[in-house]
Symmetry: none
Subunit: 318 residues, 2 copies
DNA sequence: CCATCGGAAGGGCAAATGCTCAACCGCCAA
DNA sequence: TTGGCGGTTGAGCATTTGCCCTTCCGATGG
């Protein structure tokens, strides 16, 4: 091998390294490098490009954001997402809402800046509500905000964390609350509800939404559906036996991310949740307890994007 | 500081980091970055430039350039060193700080990766400071950083380029500043100072340091000791007559690398500099003006390793 | 309240860069 | 010798980038 020291290959790589050093570390232009190494400008360019393609130069970003962006790139890559945002975790409060809310707000703001009409559909949840609070006031009468699910509990009272109304107020856009409750009593009642013109119109809007932002619910004893009284402990247990690990806008799915064909889902009145959606469906979710639910949603391609925390992203990539 | 999380300053740096990542790691063009971050092309350019100027992006060249390797091998061979690193020189700026700093940072990083406790002692100087800036953030509470000399001028003000504190901050390790000034007024004062418990403890740590990184000072009119006001011109001349050619952590030595037995050295309060040290003492130094000082340090085996520039290495081997 | 000022944003342009393509060189085999 | 072929080179051109200069915005102080 020592004979290789002077083969063209080695010298070329050496020159590439030298060119890369002069370019990236010493800050020369390719013209200067060409003169210093005694080659043409084009050759210098090729050497610099080679230093890059042969991975001789290693670039590292020394900022907390750098790590997050590495994680986000790994997430999009591994799960075939169109978008991933990872908010830095505070080591002392690893799944603080604020980071995710800010990241998601920035994302939403970019969409809302469009002069074209955009239909934005929203689920429910603390994350979405916090996101809206982080959004600056804007004037966007050209857009439309629509809710993907009802905000009425079974007793007729409103659920907390209604993000749709707040968002519409904040950006001055027309909005469509979801005209049905979360759950129908039975499939027959559901069919009757969905036949109403207002319902059909809203569901249609949801299907055509350019951007949908949703939360992800876990299915343990802290499940939002349980805490909010939509599911009794017995029902929870039954769903668990059927393989339920998570829910998005009340649609319950299993570990492969398949919407379960079960009695509960047959009563869900929320807008249908497309599998492998054609338009952006972005979930906001983080936390140890939601991990299985997030994993399943990613596996089943129920979402095209994810906004999460650094800590959660790391665990998703384990 | 946590309240600062949302100040414009922080957000701006974050954005700069994002832009830098997208540009240098993900290979986006500035146009794409502008679209993704929702800003104008010019702003994206400014963010990328900021990522560079704020030293958020670190570039490292991962290739042993043949010529530098040869020089390094020749240096270890000729001077009996345990380690030599030679950074490529830009012919027009032969002794750029950056190359040496990066090489030394890589070296230090390898040591810091050890899970075992390591004691690292540092001298002062631009090179050391630049090295610390090149080091990535790490978490190494197992190590200890200790300064080999004071950072107080005679008037009590702090010298610039304090590397110890920066290093300790950056790697999250406990650190020991040097509790004495650079010079005592006279030998009697020195003895009194060195009797203090804190001083004895720190000096002992320096003696046990697994790795010591130091600069080398020349003894001409640009001498650090003179520029920083520790040596008057008259004193400089006297030391020159006594044969002084260089200094390490303020200990002045002659052309054979022998620590001079002179009035000045009897006032130096820095940690003692062992001749033919048993543990690694590595100097960072380059430049025409430092050549005699480097040669002498090598001849007298005051150091076990050297990180220098290509141009300086060549001259040392002449 | 208005005038002033500093910093950030955007337009425009010149320099730097990346890429394609045709020409060329050396090598091998017919 | 000659033709073909892989690979390298340099010219030309489109894109990208860096920078200057003007404009705009918000803060500050009279």
């Amino acid at each position: 091998m020592s004979a290789d020291r002077f083969t063209p290959e080695t010298t070329r790589l050496d020159d590439a390294a030298r060119a890369g050093w002069l370019y990236y570390v010493a800050g020369n232009t390719q013209d200067q490098i060409a003169r210093k190494l005694g080659v043409s400008r084009q050759s210098a360019q090729r050497l610099v490009a080679m230093a890059l393609s042969e991975r001789l130069v290693k670039v590292r970003l020394d900022h907390p954001i750098g790590r997050c962006m590495d994680l986000a790139a790994a997430l999009t890559d591994r799960y075939g997402l169109t978008l991933a945002e990872v908010a830095p975790s505070d080591p002392e409060a690893p799944d603080l809402l604020a980071g995710i809310a800010i990241a998601a707000a920035a994302l939403l703001e970019r969409v809302l800046k469009s002069p074209e009409r955009r239909i934005v559909s929203l689920g429910t949840g603390r994350n979405l509500r916090a996101m809206v609070e982080q959004l600056p006031r804007m004037t966007c009468p050209q857009h439309v905000v629509v809710s993907r699910l009802g905000n009425m509990m079974q007793d007729g009272s409103a659920t907390p964390y209604n993000a749709t109304i707040r968002l519409a107020e904040r950006i001055g856009a027309p909005h469509f609350p979801y005209p049905l409750p979360v759950l129908a009593r039975d499939p027959a009642e559901l069919a009757a509800m969905q036949a109403q013109q207002a319902a059909r119109n809203t569901i249609d809007l949801c299907a055509r939404a350019d951007l949908s932002l949703v939360g992800i619910g876990q299915m343990d004893m802290t499940a939002p559906l349980h805490v909010d009284g939509f599911l009794s402990e017995a029902e929870m247990a039954e769903l668990a036996r059927a393989g339920a690990v998570g829910e998005i806008t009340s649609w319950v799915y299993d570990a492969q991310g398949r919407i379960l064909d079960c009695a509960f889902n047959r009563r869900v009145a929320s807008a249908p949740l497309p599998c492998r959606p054609a338009r952006d469906v972005i979930a906001l979710a983080s936390g140890q307890s939601k991990l299985p639910a997030i994993r399943a949603a990613l596996a089943g391609r129920l979402i095209t994007g994810l906004v999460t925390s650094e800590a959660t992203a790391e665990r998703l990539l384990d």
